[in-house]
């Protein structure tokens, strides 16, 4: 029986399948479809201090092997999240990560401060990379200094692992990951969505009301794998790899490129049971690669020269 667990600092994940922020709601939405206890971990929709209505519809559109979304971080805010969602999670065991969102460093700090006393929280994923909020705009993880500033503000506020979620639009994602490491992050999540646009020819309107959206899904997998590998070469932090994982094969490719665990996003939107299928496929495939544990596979990519 192979060992699929991995750890980020003291926190052990029972298996590599973590559900990605914004693609699995707050958790209870998935309850009719899967046994949440089988997951390696769960990361919530982005939590802002106040509730947010998000963008007008249309908010999603299918692109070649991918999707474009501009939900605009619709959310119930940290107070209702604590009162209504965290009690739900006491019935389930997988590591629970809070995706912390904000428009300024203070927003992030308020969320962490407000929630940190709650025992059910296992880690924070700091979303330094949402491309939707400001129209096609810059994100903190395009810049090493801003990445550091936000993480350094948060570091003293909690003992729990802080994982920095990075944008793929930085000139060099490995440089940003290095900055995150220096600022005390315990891991990095790679990658958030690419900024994209789709055009309705007939109306000459954007396909999304928000104009720009974030691109995810299999289309971005090669870019995501490249970034995971580059960051793995550069920093020693554990990596949660994501971007287009829809099969056990995809999952293990991310591990070979250097990821400690992965996140599943678009695949869950396509099929709510996909995360468990992916986990099953990966666990069946692993022995056929001659490996007893994920650790043996991690970062095992051998370039030709």
């Amino acid at each position: 029986m192979s060992d699929l667990s991995f750890s980020i600092g003291p926190l052990r994940f029972p298996n590599p399948v973590v559900l990605a922020s914004g693609t699995a709601g707050y958790g209870y939405e998935l309850e009719p479809y899967i046994d949440l206890d089988l997951l390696g971990g769960f990361i919530t929709k982005g939590i802002y201090p106040a509730p947010r209505a998000g963008n007008p519809s249309p908010r999603v559109y299918e692109t070649p092997s991918g999707m474009l979304n501009a939900i605009g971080l619709q959310g119930i805010g940290m107070v209702r999240f604590r009162d209504e969602v965290l009690p739900f999670w006491e019935r389930y065991k997988p590591p629970l990560g809070i995706n912390v969102a904000g428009e300024c460093p203070e927003d992030y700090a308020r969320v962490v401060e407000y929630l940190d006393s709650h025992p059910r929280i296992d880690f924070y994923e700091i979303n330094l990379s949402c491309p939707n909020v400001q129209t096609g705009g810059r994100s903190p993880s395009w810049f090493p200094e801003e990445t550091k500033r936000i993480l350094s503000t948060l570091r003293p506020l909690t003992k729990r692992p802080l994982i920095a979620k990075l944008s793929p639009h930085a000139r060099s994602v490995e440089e940003i990951a290095f900055a995150a490491q220096e600022a005390g992050a315990d891991g990095v999540s790679l990658i958030n969505t690419f900024i994209g646009l789709a055009v309705d020819l007939k109306s000459r309107r954007p396909m999304l009301h928000n104009l720009f959206g974030g691109v995810s899904g299999p289309a971005v997998k090669p870019m995501a794998l490249a970034m995971v590998y580059k960051v793995f070469q550069r920093v020693s932090l554990p990596i949660l790899g994501m971007g287009g994982i829809v099969s056990g094969r995809d999952l293990l490719e991310f591990i070979v490129a250097g990821a400690s665990g992965v996140q599943i996003g678009t695949a869950t939107i396509v099929d709510p049971q996909a995360p468990l299928r992916i986990l099953r496929e990966a666990s069946e495939l692993l022995p056929s690669l001659g490996c007893d544990s994920l650790g043996e596979l991690r970062g095992s990519l051998k370039p030709y020269r």
């Binding site: 699929l4 206890d37 390696g40 007008p56 249309p58 908010r59 999603v60 396509v270 468990l276 666990s283």
Partner: protein, 268 residues
């Protein structure tokens, strides 16, 4: 599978998931309309007018599933119908399917029309909005309700299912007068009803809502919004709806697709 403590549990136990269903029949209508028929006694017996299904073809070049209301239910055969119009990649690829092929289907999803409410019923269908009423009509007939259907389309060619509808009280309208009365569905509305169930283009639904706004008639509309998941997890399908907390962005797939007209905010 180890690495967690629940390896003995089956991942699908008690849970709802996509099911591969064989296409047992296909019908090509005019003007890019198609029907596909699927055998599934379970789904056929659990689907109610207003429910929708997510449909996916794992071998197609499309990624996301597409939402469809079901059309007719053939209870004796355990067969249900999907009736759709080709408008893009997903529906194109569905239209290419043949009898014997398989599609993945998830449902029933959403909340159906509350057909059981008492009173005189008017069903209003615009264009392909006829879908949910193809299963509602037999239910209403069987329970001997006071009901009728107002069914409008652009032209006689796209006023489909007429032989099937001949058994029910239906009045037809076409924009060009080529069948039934000339004019829009919204020009034929009756005040003499207690319940209205409507499905069709957004503009039509808005005008239906407006017509009954200050009347005692209870109006339910089946709304559409472009969807990502259909399962309530992506928040892709939200629209403005009045709730206890004020006006909120509410998911059509989870809280809808059927909404009380008075709750719907029409601002664009």
């Amino acid at each position: 599978m180890t690495g967690n403590n629940f390896s003995s549990k089956m991942e699908t136990m008690d849970k709802k998931g996509y099911t591969p269903l064989e296409i047992v029949g296909k019908r090509e209508w005019r003007e890019d309309f198609f029907s596909l028929f699927f055998h599934s006694p379970l789904l056929t017996s659990s689907l109610r007018s207003g429910h929708f299904l997510m449909v996916r073809d794992p071998d197609a070049p499309t990624l996301l599933s597409r939402p469809f209301s079901m059309g007719r239910l053939f209870h004796d055969e355990g067969v249900f119908e999907l009736f759709f119009q080709v408008v893009g990649k997903g529906t194109e690829s569905m239209a290419r399917k043949r009898v014997g092929d398989t599609l993945s289907v998830l449902g029933p999803l959403g909340n159906p029309f509350p057909l059981e409410k008492p009173g005189r019923i008017l069903l209003i269908a615009g264009g392909r909005g006829i879908s949910p009423f193809l299963s509602a009509l037999p239910v209403l007939a069987e329970s001997k309700r006071d009901y009728s259907l107002l069914y409008g389309a652009k032209t006689a060619r796209t006023l489909l299912f007429r032989p099937f509808l001949a058994d029910f009280p239906v009045s037809y309208r076409t924009d060009d007068g080529s069948f039934g009365q000339r004019g829009l569905v919204v020009d034929g509305l009756s005040q003499e009803v207690d319940l209205v169930f409507a499905c069709g283009p957004e503009k039509m639904l808005e005008r239906v809502a407006l017509f009954y706004k200050d009347l005692p008639t209870e109006v339910y509309l089946s709304l559409e919004e472009r969807m990502g998941c259909g399962t309530g997890i992506c928040y892709g399908c939200a629209r403005k709806v009045r709730t206890d907390r004020g006006v909120e962005m509410v998911r059509v797939c989870e809280e809808g697709p059927v909404f009380e007209a008075s709750r719907v905010v029409w601002d664009e």
